[in-house]
Symmetry: C2
Subunit: 432 residues, 2 copies
């Protein structure tokens, strides 16, 4: 029997993280990690519902919550079977809403809200199929996966038939990689040591802890003060030794020429990548920076608004690493689009995570990417930040520097009931 | 004495235009022209206030209204003198809000709300100086104008000193062009005849009326059905004769390759430009289309989110016409940035207008552009749509196919009190 979506309940959940400076960087000085959270209630006799979220940083979460409510009519009343039968059409209906589209299109608040709803739909879908999301995707045929993607605006770079052929070529070895992922998990890196607001001593201590836990890739926030950055980067390099990978993250503080000159002294610490050296909108700027700072590589994506900008970053050979965000892209459908594009252009995907719920999401995406799309672990690491996982029913687990393969049905963003009420904004006790 | 901003009152105003299909195109089937409207109340003894708006198309206007409220703390409490003393810093404070920035940055709902607030500030500034906005700008020194611009992310294309030099070179002849604008006004074109929902007979009748009123440039909405488009375009070309300029507007319905093949048969009607042939985010796609369809020119901008994307459209030589939107760019400050960039790259600016309030705004911008920045009328026409002007205290007037130069103090977006209450959403009588 078909499962019908009866209601979309959206709520505003905020964690007062700005009180500790966890999450602080050159552009985001005082984030309160937050989510616009949505529950899709259904007529499933077992009471199954779909849970999804989009990540925000405090003020303005209410805008995403309200946008979810405005978009909900594209979801409520449908059955999961209706949606699954035409995933790309369903998705285009959401992003093409004839009045809300003006407010984007496919970017900003409305697109973040789209992500929350689409992620909730996929959570519901995976629960109904009793599979973790990555396994739901891995079990789809190449054609079914491609049918999830809206090719509008990307067909000049990748045609559906070409995408099917790419997936087919990896199909024979999918099962092997699935065994590997279940056994070993997916490589992670950590940003927990490198927040801008942390003292040198705290950075060093956290770095040593992380290395002790098996991490070989550590990331440092830079861009606020050149001298200070170099000192902190040296401390981290010392802790890592010459073989570990040190990544730097400027969170968009620089202009193009500024990025190039700022990176010159930092070359001393042999950074693997510089992340977000400038505006996420500046495709040509990223290309120019990439050309100028080789062999340091360029990564970006947590603020890249949609598949169209990723398409251009790839076409222009502007990035070495594609950092999809599971909640800024319009949910799983658009993530699949970008994974396919990145694979075609041979650029590794290293998802952005942290915040709240992002680590829960991205492990599914990286594992799916490896098993079905890229079939490679070379130069691939998935971000991990050890914050706020205690609020989730199926929290992200990292062991020995790798994301453990999730096994519970769904897309893992379900928050505990207690957390939802305690951190409800503005009424919850955490905000009293 | 300094004038202090005491309060920002935001409201949701919607006109039920979808009932007549005025404003219909291939992507926007049923717009209800709307505005997030803001009044900056001050302690001015004469009771002066600043009025600003951002244009929307119905659902979701409430998101912009709420975003204005969230941003208001960057404006309320300041004096107009504080703001005028550091215009670029004031603007960067708004777009750099440490938590709201996550929801963009500089795009979507929050940037539209930024535009409403910034436009209201400029309205207040011009009223205090007892000048129409264009004249306030024209009377500024080159350095003052450049000091209004946040050069973050555009300095690789245009340096402040270079912008000052550009403006200085036009300075000796500013006064002449001011006389000309006051006498003749600025050339306009009209889209009133060419909406997608209109019948052929209605298009022909409206085109003949427009030509009778002195228009030489007419625009037609295309992209829904190739055969139908060609028939309607021929009718418009017949009405215009061989010397009139016929513009086509696809409102983003095509992919890159689709745009190229769709434009082939339409070349028959000798279009001057094709507007929004694909996604506004696709800089490289616009370049490819432009290369493929010469001598037909490419125009875009009403959905271009900020100066960073315009910078790239210019750097990549992707457009022939730069169609700034006065409410999608972050208000007057960012408009000045794009006018300077376009001038440097030698691309004419032909602002997008229509909707509600946009015509009231853009005449100021085009007149300022001509007098102080571009100093040229070649290939420059400013959009005009004859809708909803009756709701404004200082409505746009077009005579003989030209925008009449406005003379009242301010930036002209003040709506009549009656209109504000009648069309207030959802409580106003128009929505009862």
């Amino acid at each position: 029997m078909a499962t019908r979506i009866l209601n979309a309940v959206a709520s505003d959940v905020r964690f007062p993280t700005s009180r500790t400076l966890a999450g602080s960087d050159a552009m985001n000085r005082d984030p309160d990690y937050s989510a616009a959270y949505v529950i899709l209630e259904t007529d499933d006799p077992g009471g199954l519902s779909g849970h999804g979220l989009t990540f925000t940083t405090g003020r303005g979460t209410e805008l995403c919550v309200e946008a979810v409510r405005l978009l909900a009519n594209h979801v409520v009343g449908l059955t999961m079977e209706d949606i699954a039968a035409d995933m790309a059409g369903f998705w285009r209906g959401l992003v093409g809403d004839s009045q809300l589209r003006w407010l984007g299109p496919e970017k900003g608040v409305v697109h973040l809200a789209t992500a929350a709803l689409v992620n909730a739909v996929w959570d519901l879908y995976a629960r109904l199929e009793r599979k973790p999301l990555w396994k739901l995707l891995v079990d789809m045929s190449s054609q079914q996966l491609v049918d999830c993607v809206d090719f509008r605006y990307i067909e000049d770079a990748l045609k559906p038939a070409e995408a099917v052929a790419m997936l087919e070529s990896q199909l024979p070895s999918r099962a092997e990689r699935e065994v590997e992922m279940r056994r070993d998990g997916f490589p992670a890196y950590t940003t927990s040591a490198g927040w801008l607001g942390y003292s040198d001593a705290r950075i060093k201590q956290l770095a040593e802890e992380a290395i002790g836990e098996g991490f070989t890739h550590l990331k440092l926030k830079v861009g606020f003060d050149a001298e200070n950055d170099l000192r902190r980067a040296r401390a981290l390099r010392d802790a890592l030794g010459p073989n570990g990978a040190l990544m730097l993250d400027a969170n968009q503080v620089w202009g193009v020429e500024e990025a190039i000159s700022y990176m010159r002294p930092l070359a001393e610490v042999d950074p693997w990548w510089i992340e977000e050296p400038t505006s996420p909108d500046d495709v040509l700027g990223h290309r120019r920076i990439r050309d100028a700072i080789r062999p340091i590589k360029v990564a970006t994506g947590e603020h890249v608004q949609n598949r169209i900008v990723f398409k251009q970053l790839l076409q222009a050979e502007a990035i070495d690493f594609c950092q999809i965000d599971s909640c800024r892209l319009g949910g799983v459908n658009e993530v699949i689009a970008v994974l396919l594009l990145a694979s075609k252009f041979g650029v590794p995907v290293c998802p952005h995570a942290g915040g709240v719920g992002l680590c829960e999401y991205v492990r599914h995406l990286s594992i799916f990417d490896y098993i079905a799309v890229s079939a490679s672990l070379e130069n691939r690491v998935c971000e991990f930040v050890d914050h706020l996982h205690e609020h989730f029913v199926d929290p992200a687990v990292v062991a020995g520097g790798r994301y453990v393969c999730p096994t519970l049905p769904g897309y893992s963003a379900e928050m505990k009931r207690d957390s939802l009420s305690t951190y409800s904004f503005p009424g919850g006790p955490a905000w009293a």
